[in-house]
């Protein structure tokens, strides 16, 4: 099962990080980072499957597919940026963490902006078409 491998990787990574933290703190940080990346990689594959299944659904029911991929991107960017921010904070780089957080927000906005504009356009178009 996927959850067992996920659990195994997480436990192994945690144990390794705890062991290394006493003598080699810089390596412990790298070990933690690698474990987290592995975990994200394992979950990302599942997330891709969910999104593609939902996109198939949307194609069947005549809903625009670009919205869903936009939503998945929003979730992914937020997760990854949060991960980066946490990693930077753990390493004691709070200024870097703040920059990364701002960067994450900018990327989120850039990713969702076309769809947000399309929401506004759709709303305006709906009202415009409904008007006599």
């Amino acid at each position: 099962m996927k959850i067992t491998s996920l659990l195994a990787v997480a436990l192994f990574g945690t144990a390794l990080t705890v062991l290394l933290k006493q003598n080699r703190p810089e390596q412990a940080w790298i070990a933690g980072l690698v474990t987290a990346l592995l975990l994200i990689g394992m979950v990302a594959a599942e997330l891709t499957g969910i999104v593609s299944a939902m996109e198939t659904f949307m194609q069947n029911y005549g809903v625009r597919g670009d919205m869903l991929s936009g939503m998945a991107k929003v979730v992914a960017i937020a997760w990854l940026a949060q991960f980066g921010v946490q990693a930077a904070r753990d390493a004691g780089q709070s200024a870097l963490a703040a920059q990364l957080e701002t960067g994450g927000r900018v990327l989120l906005l850039a990713c969702a902006l076309p769809s947000v504009f399309s929401l506004l356009q759709l709303g305006a178009e709906l009202i415009g078409r409904a008007a006599p």
Partner: protein, 380 residues
């Protein structure tokens, strides 16, 4: 027409060549004469132009054929098959709606992944806001088809009343119901012009405006536009209610008064004819049967018109209602698993569809009331 009918209904009138033989006048003969004179071809051609689903739901019977079966064979295929049609229609779009419900719930599940982020950072708020905005855009694009359908159906009600008016008033003129024909003219013109114009020009834009404002408001944690959205909703409700009450009252009163006027005219003519020397009583007796045939034919045409309108409205109304219900269900189900803003987005979209549905149903009811009242359905 009435005189021709009376001539045929007079005892012995049918058997001029054999006066000794006096068969009792049959209602079916009278109905047959009226049917041969009434022009229902426009109805049949309108029916032929409808899509295959609607014609299949009606049993592929042209309205004139349906009327024949209703009057002469006592069959009511529309009533018998109505429940089957209703279930069949519901079954035909159930898989699609279930798919949409799953999609809405899937979006809620996807959005719930964001709740794993830390609340303190700005990323959580930004991600959540943008996610719900995208979900709002997706919901609007998915209800877009339904909104277009609703507009087309409302326009279709106006077209139907334009098609029904000459047919029904033609039948009414033919049967001597001049006052009823004038009342029908008034009711159908008011429906296709004023009422439909008001609904498509005011109610629909207001409900869409309210829906879009409500969805936009749901994106924010502090409601600022909900007052406007609520105002639009209330205005729609009041306009639809007032229009329905006024129209039903005016059309109902007009129809009843016109029916009474026509009855008085027919009865006074019968009284005048009854006073004629020699043949007066004979003609007067025939007139009773003729009036019975007229009333029966009018009611038959009225019932056919009501059922035809009902079948035509069935699919778009059910589809709109089912979609609104799906959004409501998604709103309720995603509350425990997803963001409450997402639930509000679904609820506002459902409200928008329900307001349009109310206008559509009101227009449909007015059409059926016009047909029923003008044709004297249910009147003895």
């Amino acid at each position: 027409m009435v005189l021709v009918l009376v001539g045929c209904m007079v005892p012995g009138g049918r058997m001029i060549s054999a006066p000794t033989e006096t068969p009792p006048p049959e209602i079916q003969d009278g109905l047959d004469i009226i049917r041969s004179q009434a022009d229902l071809s426009a109805w049949d051609s309108w029916f032929a132009s409808q899509d295959a689903e609607m014609r299949a739901a009606w049993g592929n019977l042209p309205p004139s054929e349906y009327l024949y079966r209703l009057l002469f064979e006592g069959e009511t295929p529309g009533f018998d098959g109505f429940l089957d049609t209703l279930l069949g229609t519901a079954r035909s779009f159930l898989p699609s709606l279930l798919g949409q419900l799953l999609l809405y719930l899937g979006i809620a599940v996807l959005g719930s992944l964001l709740s794993g982020l830390q609340r303190e950072g700005g990323l959580y708020q930004a991600g959540r806001l943008l996610f719900v905005a995208l979900a709002g855009a997706l919901v609007l694009s998915s209800v877009w088809t339904r909104l277009s359908d609703a507009r087309e159906t409302l326009q279709g009600v106006a077209n139907i009343s334009d098609i029904f008016l000459p047919i029904l008033s033609g039948v009414l003129f033919l049967l001597g119901g001049t006052a009823s024909a004038a009342a029908a003219q008034l009711a159908f013109t008011a429906l296709s012009g004023t009422v439909i114009g008001l609904f498509s020009g005011v109610v629909f834009p207001l409900s869409i405006c309210g829906g879009v404002l409500g969805i936009t408001d749901a994106l924010s944690s502090t409601p600022r536009l909900s007052g406007f959205a609520q105002l639009c909703k209330t205005a729609c409700k009041w306009i639809v209610n007032i229009c329905t009450i006024l129209f039903t009252f005016i059309a109902g009163m007009g129809g009843l008064l016109a029916g009474s006027t026509d009855n008085i005219l027919l009865k006074s003519s019968k009284l005048a004819v009854g006073g004629l020397p020699f043949a007066g009583a004979l003609i007067s007796g025939g007139m009773d049967t003729a009036y019975g045939c007229i009333a029966l034919f009018r009611q038959g045409v009225g019932i056919t018109g009501i059922l035809l309108g009902l079948y035509w409205l069935l699919r778009p109304v059910l589809l709109l209602y089912a979609h609104a219900l799906t959004l409501r269900a998604a709103s309720a189900l995603c509350l425990p698993i997803g963001d409450h803003r997402l639930s509000a987005v679904y609820a506002r979209a459902a409200d928008m569809l329900l307001q349009m549905l109310a206008a559509l149903v009101a227009a449909g009811v007015m059409l059926l009331v016009s047909v029923g009242v003008c044709m004297g359905v249910g009147r003895g």
